[in-house]
Subunit: 341 residues, 2 copies
């Protein structure tokens, strides 16, 4: 397998990318890597660390797209940026299997959409991170931010893609797919959810109905489907709430000597929880539905996150997710026919 | 002041309602109360507890609307239910200032809308709970579930009502109002947010722009505006995440003796956090924009929650929130004119 990594755009670039590649090569010596970015800086870091990386090609691409650049404009005009060079190589070179980037989400989505394109039959690619559940497992959230406005057909495709992805990555037959909703009753939802519900029942997936956001991480669901606006609000509300509890606990614990001692003793437990809830270790969000594999890794990714994203891309490729999506989406009955059934 | 309380429909009914009234009468002896519900059960409990409640009238209304009843149907047909009797009295009797209920949210919203009606000029009433922030304050979320689908004018009215409510209840001039969004940039959002953004800038409020759900509880905002579907997902995602962290901490702490000892020592701190994040103590959500004050208290309300809801209704009335909304909504420039500016 051959992966291309955009070495710039994230907070810890390019060091985290290079360190992540070194970690990955120990476990997966057969993967070839290409890194795009300022060649001088990349090589200086490799030399400084005295890394000997086999199967590594560094491609000079000195421009950096930031979150302040307008995504579609940046993709069209910043041709020497680490992201655009990586996208162009991914597109042209059939031997490259996947792209990993920690850069601007908007630019990655725009680039994926404009340069790489969709799997035939997929109406919209979507971001699909894995979140931890109460029961120790994972749940996929699709779409978590690529498509702010969606139609029922988009949500149906998200459900299909999420179901295939979950089955292959977590090895579970008939993953339980639910619609994110403001109640569990069949009649609940906004217009989008209400129109999608009857269509979901006709898809070849294990659709278990509407789900309240309160139960999203309960372990009762495997794939949560929603428009990208709702998914983004859900994900960030979860992040914010976790941060609030942690900071409140810290404040409370500092307020008395006894509880300070207690905190020291339960420190390991705290750390464990923090780690478990830290989605960095799960790698990134695949931009699922693109015709080639693209993984958006968190902007604050460290070397472990990059390593996890590489493993994720490896599993994604090994399981032929894209091929399976292509096959099953094409075989899907026409959704407009379903609607008129 | 005179308040009417629906004594049935919640988890701890009617005991929590009656206990809450007793608590409130100690602090606010001038409030008169009416309680609706099964008179026998209510009176039995009062006698059992040997309560002497001044200014209390019990009105027999033996039917109970549950979450399994279709709200609009229940409001129209269950005329002897504790909620419908309370709504009818609130509507007909000008001396009754506010209604508090722990019953089915859907039924309260349907009843408020159908029987009590809106303040003139308000396009849609909305649920507006107060949430705790990192900095020790509160932030209002409007709408958190009354209107699954909204138009820009609805969001503008929510912003106006939330701003007035915040100013009066928390005594802060120019509360900072933000749109819940999938990014902070002006150009972000789904179609609804994008269409609402320019209108919000023209309202007589302190509109500070788009906000990411991650920062909702940061203390940087006072009023968060969104459609009821998004608000519901946000609120429940927050609840779910807080629950997840707490349960993970418990599990982790139980896993070793040292951390168990630690947990005992920091127990007080934990309890404090739990209390601070427990929205029960903030009372309920006003169904703001109705022509009379309606407070939806949590289904699992205990006597303290009911007490808090009564205090909330008292402050709401004392501050003449409804009158101020009526005045300012009527004086609002025509939003369609704003759109064409």
């Amino acid at each position: 397998m051959k992966f291309i990594l955009d070495a710039f755009g994230g907070d810890n670039c390019p060091n985290a990318i290079i360190d992540g590649v070194v970690l990955a090569q120990k476990e997966y010596p057969d993967i070839e890597f290409i890194i795009t970015g300022n060649k001088q800086i990349i090589n200086d870091y490799i030399n400084e660390k005295k890394y000997k990386i086999n199967n590594l090609q560094v491609v000079d691409a000195p421009e950096i797209i930031t979150c302040n650049d307008v995504p579609t404009v940046a993709i069209k005009t910043m041709k020497n940026s680490s992201l655009v060079v990586a996208l162009d190589m991914l597109k042209k070179d059939d031997s490259i299997d996947a792209l990993i980037s920690t850069g601007s989400t908007g630019a990655i989505l725009a680039g994926g959409f404009l340069k790489i394109g969709r799997i035939k039959g997929v109406s919209r690619p979507a971001l699909c991170p894995a979140l931890p559940t109460k029961t120790g497992g994972n749940v996929l959230l699709i779409d978590c931010g690529a498509n702010a406005d969606c139609k029922p057909i988009n949500l149906c495709h998200f459900a299909m893609m999420g179901s295939i992805y979950y089955k292959e990555l977590f090895g579970k037959e008939n993953p339980r797919v639910a619609l994110v909703c403001n109640g569990t009753e069949d009649s609940k939802g906004n217009e989008l959810v209400k129109s999608t519900f009857p269509l979901m029942k006709k898809l070849p997936i294990n659709f278990v109905g509407n789900m309240e956001a309160r139960d999203a991480l309960s372990g009762e669901y495997d794939v949560l489907v929603c428009d990208g606006f709702t998914g983004n609000v859900f994900l960030k509300a979860t992040e914010g709430a976790v941060g609030l509890v942690m900071s409140e606990l810290k404040k409370s614990i500092k307020s008395s000597l006894l509880s300070k001692i207690g905190a020291v003793l339960s420190f390991k437990a705290f750390k464990k929880v923090k780690k478990r809830l830290d989605y960095n270790k799960y790698g990134g969000s695949p931009f699922i539905g693109c015709s080639k594999t693209i993984i958006k890794s968190h902007g604050s990714s460290n070397s472990e996150t990059i390593y996890a994203s590489i493993v994720q891309a490896y599993k994604y490729q090994s399981a032929s997710i894209n091929e399976k999506i292509a096959e099953q989406i094409v075989n899907l009955p026409n959704l407009e026919d379903l609607e008129n059934d």
